[in-house]
Amino acid sequence: MPRYAMVIDLQRCVGCSACSISCRSENNVPDGIYWSNKITETSGTFPNVRYHYIPTLCNHCENAPCVRGCPTGAMHKLENGITMHNPKKCIGCKYCEFNCPYGVIYFNWTYPHKSWKNNEKVLEGTASPKEEVAKVGGKTIPYYNPEREDTLSGIRPKGVVEKCTFCDHLVKRGKLPRCVDACPADARVFGDIDDPNSKVRQLLGKFRPFRLREQIGTDPHVFYIRDFNPANYQPSKGGI
């Protein structure tokens, strides 16, 4: 059984957010919820300033605090290492969200995709969001992806949490997670960390990876390699 992991090459990543957009479409993610997200940081002061961009998603930790803390086993590990959630078992206690060191679990505070139920026309002569949904025969949203239903509720109900599943429904069919497939810079590599010949293992051997908040012992399965920095400076023997 493979153990899936992802390597994100920060030198290749251009911060275009194609990963986040494709993730929303693939997984029918509602407004306000981010399965795929980013951490941005600006350091220094002008003109010596730098912008950092780290794409984020569920780290599918080996020692996942969300799995350990879930009282009903709704949050659980699959044999292939994916941290999966079962909304049918979720009591909405939000402990996983409270417990997650990475801020990647979200709660459905209300009915998802509520805005698409609105029957008011945005402009005279245009269709209302509700009419748009009806026109394409979509389920709740016009861009509804029924494939998501293979392993999880297509749209998760209010009162339960949700998060990235490494697109387990695609992985099951031998495909790549949507964010990996959609990345125009090929910055994401997905594969079996137990297979010494996998690309993931090759990259982890070739570069010195880091993981988010490694020191707390969760053993995240999302690794970051390299960094992009076009800045240059004049060589000197010191600053005095």
Partner: protein, 382 residues
């Protein structure tokens, strides 16, 4: 006769007020269950708010009351028997109030069935829920035995012992819900469990003292010499619990004040939602120090007014302290949530959260009132 009529009138007015609060609460419960928790001023950063704080407060108070009830029921100290039945009943009512609060905090209370069929034994929330549920059931059976006049049978004694063990472990479990979150340094560790146990004893003894003294005042029955001596002992237990919480709070305060761990510095910066005086939280000053000073003064210690006032201050103070700890640890976004949320989350409960809180308290008070009227809570073994 007229006095009795007036007292009945007051009683039914009181019940009417509680009834209105409960009806409003039931409407709010319907609204929350059908519309979702966006009605709360919580979000994906500040995840747990007033209803959870109220649950922690009421559940811990219930545990404290059960621990006090164990003095006569488990350890056999007979002079405490006159308040034992009342303590068990108050513990049941407080715990039911707490369950209402957490029930309305849960996103899907109907999935609770999986807690039984798919338990996760590594989850502190599971243990907390299981032990408090067991405690409630055992307390109800224990009360039923006592009410039937059975104080000493093996069954009755066993129920007392189990409820004592539950009340001892459950606060530790509430603490471990926070203490096991490695991601939140300010909660992580054993301190939260010890703190919750001490807070349970403190708020339980405060409610015990407050309720018994106010009850004597309201009913006009006065306090017999036997009861007076008992209440003096309870005052000493209350003062002891107050001292223990003050010591623990000061240790926590000085450690947090000395460290330079960024998470603790951030936490400390925002851990004064109710304001501060000379760097110390207002609720600690008014809810711990002031009552301790008043209750330590020999001239004031055993005055009824002092005891009622100090125990009321502690009851309000402990609630505020639980809220403070709960909110301060969640005031800053974790990881990428900083992209969608401000650096620090400000919070004031929504009207719906206040109604849930009021509902929990109203149910507890309604039970107190009905129990006092119909269940002979002052009876003791023959």
């Amino acid at each position: 006769m007229n006095q009795s009529k007036a007292s009945n009138g007051l009683f039914f007015t009181w019940l009417g007020l509680l009834g209105i609060a409960i009806l409003i609460g039931l409407f709010a419960a319907f609204k929350i269950l059908t519309e979702g928790h966006h009605l709360f001023n919580a979000n994906d950063v500040l995840i747990w708010s007033l209803p959870l704080g109220a649950y922690i407060y009421l559940a811990l108070t219930s545990s404290g009351l059960t621990l006090l009830a164990a003095i006569p029921l488990v350890f056999g100290i007979k002079r405490y028997e006159p308040i034992a039945k009342r303590l068990i009943f108050l513990a049941i009512a407080a715990l039911l109030g707490g369950f209402i609060s957490i029930g309305l905090e849960l996103g899907n209370v109907f999935h609770m069935v999986y807690i039984i069929f798919s338990p996760n034994l590594s989850s502190p929330i599971w243990w907390m829920g299981a032990i408090y549920s067991l405690e409630l059931i055992v307390l109800i059976f224990k009360f039923q035995r006592i009410h039937a006049g059975d104080w000493t049978s093996t069954t009755s004694k066993t129920l007392g012992k189990i409820s004592f063990l539950c009340a001892l472990i459950a606060p530790l479990m509430i603490g471990s819900v926070f203490g096991l979150t490695e991601s939140r340094v300010t909660y992580f560790g054993p301190v939260m469990s010890i703190y919750c146990l001490f807070m349970a004893i403190l708020s339980g003894s405060a409610l015990c003292l407050f309720y018994n003294l106010v009850h004597a005042q309201v009913t006009g029955n006065g306090i017999s010499d036997e009861k007076d001596s008992l209440f003096r002992e309870l005052t000493r237990i209350f003062t002891g619990a107050l001292s223990a919480v003050i010591i623990l709070t000061l240790i926590k305060f000085f450690i947090e004040g000395s460290t330079v761990i960024p998470e603790v510095l951030n936490y400390h910066k925002y851990a004064q939602a109710f304001g501060s005086v000379a760097g110390m939280n207002t609720e600690i000053i008014l809810g711990l120090f002031l009552p301790f000073i008043l209750i330590s003064m020999p001239g004031l210690r055993y005055k009824q007014s002092t005891r009622i006032f100090t125990s009321a201050l502690v009851l309000l103070g402990t609630l505020a302290m639980h809220m403070e700890i709960l909110l301060a640890g969640q005031s800053r976004p974790v990881g990428p949530k900083a992209e969608q949320f401000p650096d620090v989350i400000s919070y004031f409960p929504s009207i719906w959260e206040w109604i849930v809180f009021t509902l929990s308290i109203a149910v507890m008070l309604l039970l107190f009132s009905l129990g006092e009227r119909f269940l002979k809570l002052e009876s003791k073994p023959a």
